[in-house]
Symmetry: C2
């Protein structure tokens, strides 16, 4: 096909604009002409890289958090800028956990340390507190040539890995953490993808099965698709505050064994998009299950600082694993993940994160360092930001008071908005919302009338995509349909962040209520 097109073109093109005799090509440049009148008629040949020829695993990837709804939101924003009239003045983007974009201010101390590392001339500047200068100097001491511009070790800057290990020890009541088991990453996504990449193997029925919660954060389904692994869904129990039910986990595992080799179990705690915080007992059950069934555990704990319900507490998988005794702590393989993007700091743009591995075979640690070294190192400014997160100002230090004040302000506002959102949603007929125990999202269940479901089917669209698209077009609110995260057949949801400032959040909830009632009415 390509060949024949090529021959036709040669026949049609007449004198090619570049000499046929290769050796006769002039060394000097030809003037480039943008004058269309001078240009010969040019046929476009078939492209080499097309939807048909591309990597089918990449083609199969879906990622709703930045999918069609978000592209449409961008279009509408451009139309608003051009002065096109809409029933709203701005698009409120509640599709992604992007705190600073929603007006949250950076933590002063974190930015001071990173600025000092960036431009060490500031180290003698009296406007910067001494504790920030000390941290910056310490990080720079650990960087090649004392510069953030040097490659770090592929595993991350050594003193930052030490700080991460000490942070984990404090968090986990003294259970030891080894800096050699810490890997700094380009955000948590990078760490999760890397460890999945190493885990995946096999063909046909021996392909690696990866168990993920439904609803899930779509990084997981995207990575599984890209890596040609098998996605094995276990459903969280919406009727029980999105709790993980061990019997459902068992059902999912046995089903997955029929067509794959399930060997990885992914947990998101606190949940994204579902916001539940797992009980200690539930975590023990999951660990026992992994131990019994020979599953490698991936614990996505990026929302570990985002717990709002009084009755809930964050327990790390690492800590529970060790407290269950050496039979577990010496055997269960675990990788857990943290990030600079969430918590109270919300530093998404820095792409900072870490992964801690437990019981990873030494040969696999060598492999991990090797594969990380191909990308050389995680961004060093993000590593510096991670350092502040794990090594914040101490009570005796100059910046402590302001740091704690800023941190508490962010977290208490989020807790307030979590309650507000839950209350609002549960007042709207046809919307039900579980408590937002943690993380940054509401994932309310929405009633979609049969006529709307029918219309969506006619449009070859998921019903909650239709709902969210209309919410965007009619009210300027950008949320992500539940179908992008997965949900029980016949149920519909959307994910909305609680990050907008309180007044804007309230306005948004009011607009959603108005829209929802109109939607129910229109399709009744």
């Amino acid at each position: 096909m390509r060949g024949s097109v090529r021959r036709v073109l040669r026949g049609l093109a007449g004198r090619a604009p570049w000499p046929q005799g290769l050796r006769g090509a002039p060394e000097g440049p030809r003037p480039y002409s943008s004058n269309a009148a001078e240009a010969p008629v040019v046929r476009t040949r078939d492209r080499i890289l097309t939807l048909q020829s591309m990597n089918p695993q990449v083609r199969a990837v879906e990622y709703a958090v930045r999918g069609p709804i978000v592209l449409k939101a961008g279009e509408i924003e451009r139309e608003l800028q051009q002065g096109i009239k809409k029933p709203f003045d701005e698009v409120i983007k509640a599709n992604i956990g992007d705190a600073h974009a929603m007006g949250q201010q950076p933590i002063t101390f974190l930015r001071q340390v990173v600025a000092l590392c960036t431009y060490p001339d500031l180290l003698d500047n009296p406007r910067f507190p001494q504790d920030a200068k000390e941290r910056a100097s310490r990080i720079l001491q650990s960087c090649g040539g004392q510069s953030l511009g040097s490659y770090s070790a592929s595993q991350g800057v050594s003193c930052i890995r030490e700080d991460v290990a000490r942070y984990i020890e404090r968090r986990d009541s003294g259970i030891p953490a080894d800096p050699e088991n810490i890997y700094l990453t380009t955000g948590a996504s990078d760490g999760i993808f890397t460890i999945l990449k190493i885990l995946v193997s096999g063909d046909g029925r021996s392909r690696t099965g990866v168990m993920i919660p439904i609803p899930q954060y779509p990084l997981y389904s995207a990575a599984i698709s890209e890596l040609n692994a098998v996605q094995a869904n276990y459903y969280l129990d919406e009727g029980n505050c999105w709790a993980l039910d061990i019997n459902e986990l068992r059902r999912a595992l046995y089903q997955a064994k029929e067509f794959s080799n399930p060997k990885v179990l992914c947990i998101i705690n606190p949940g994204n998009p579902t916001g539940q915080v797992q009980s200690r007992r539930c975590i023990e059950e999951v660990i026992h299950f992994a131990w019994e069934e020979g599953l490698f555990l991936l614990a996505d704990e990026v929302y570990q600082d985002n717990v709002y319900s009084e009755s809930c507490q964050f327990h790390s998988f690492k800590k529970v694993l060790y407290e269950m005794g050496p039979e577990y702590s010496s055997n269960v393989e675990l990788a857990s993940f943290h990030s600079t993007s969430k918590g109270y700091m919300g530093e998404c743009g820095y792409r900072g994160g870490y992964m801690e591995v437990v019981n990873l075979h030494p040969e696999i640690q060598t492999q991990l360092v090797k594969i990380l070294s191909v990308r050389l190192c995680p961004p060093v400014p993000g590593q510096a930001a991670m350092d502040v997160v794990v090594n914040p100002p101490q009570p005796s230090e100059e910046s402590y008071e302001q740091f704690i004040q800023e941190k508490e302000a962010v977290l208490s506002t989020l807790a307030h908005k979590a309650r507000l959102t839950e209350e609002w949603f549960n007042q709207i007929p046809g919307i039900e919302c579980n408590p937002l125990q943690g993380a940054m999202y509401a994932f309310p269940r929405i009633h979609i009338p049969p006529r709307a479901v029918q219309k969506a089917e006619d449009l070859q669209m998921a019903p909650d995509m239709l709902y969210c698209m209309q919410l965007l077009e009619q009210a300027g609110i950008c949320v992500v349909p539940g179908s992008g995260f997965g949900q029980k057949e016949g149920t519909y949801h959307f994910r909305m962040t609680i990050l907008p400032p309180t007044d804007k959040l309230q306005l948004m909830l009011q607009k959603i209520k108005d829209f929802h009632l109109r939607f129910l009415h229109d399709f009744s």
Copy 2:
């Protein structure tokens, strides 16, 4: 196997430390005990993730630039710190193009802009020049919530992509560049890997073949291995200053067609590790070849600012493609790459870079944005650093003079060290070195006596690995064996950066000379 081990363990373990009745597990934490005397005897079970069970494509990856030599160098450094006596006081690391680690100072203006973006309180600080403040303000205006901590668009911050497009237009004598065709990346490696990932498909003999130069930068072989594509080697002509010979390209293509579907041609210009700068004619020939044979072009142009020979000039593939006329410029698919890590700035740790695509099918651009969006965005501080590289101070601006002075100082020193290195090597009997026309490396050919080759064989080691390992152990100099980059059968090389300060470089060259003569003598 796992099952039987588990049964044995259950039998042996006696009372498991965690209750067998799952529902009976206590909610409260158990005290963690690190007292070995209290702990029961614990057997280690087979691990889930092992060399045998892991992803075989990841296992097959090799990456010499941070391989065994570099691990050994780290060991030796630790021994020196512990006071262990060696025939040298420090390890000189010339294995990786890491300028700041070798003492190169950051470009002041770049760091000022990034520091201002990081900590905008500094925008009213009189120590920072106005032009740096203006650039920082402009970048922040384009960031969500005016914060580097927000996710950017997956393709990169819009105003930075605009600046990249204008930079390319200036570089390429006015040939237009569209910001929509620019993708900011996490260093060039990330962009190269991403586009290869999309390009690769097929099984067995239909697997995608990727043509790469030999010697190559091992990112390419690593990515090809990880993506399960087929590596098709074309050999650069060492006898002709490492030039690319189009007949060799044709030979390699036809050979590759026998066992794969070759559809990608990778070019590194200026060359890494070989340092040659391609002539305009050579680039025309390559483009014509790609056009004729239906190959997607990848142009790795990260050393575009690093050209030292008076007789050489950098020509971008994009520019030559357009100057060859519309038959080419409307049809040949090209992705080209740049980075903050090399040039005169050497900001490796920031992981900044961009990719420009030409003639990419619009559907593929959509796919590209989708797959990039799974990782959310490139690090925003690295994007800001990239902005300064493509939008440096102008003659009318306050920072211009200092900027130009710093830039020229770095580049002229590199040019001097390139000449110095070439001259030194060519004075040593048994070493031959092509001119270092560009990039940051020497890749001298070394004579290894037959007895040394024999010894390496006995040790199951590449002969140049033996050479480099002895160079490290005896002289404390860390360079990478040619076998890590690929070389013609029976020839031996190493790659050495020219980044150490001139006096240290001279010392290093003297030490290499002494070592080499001793090596020849020992194995004669």
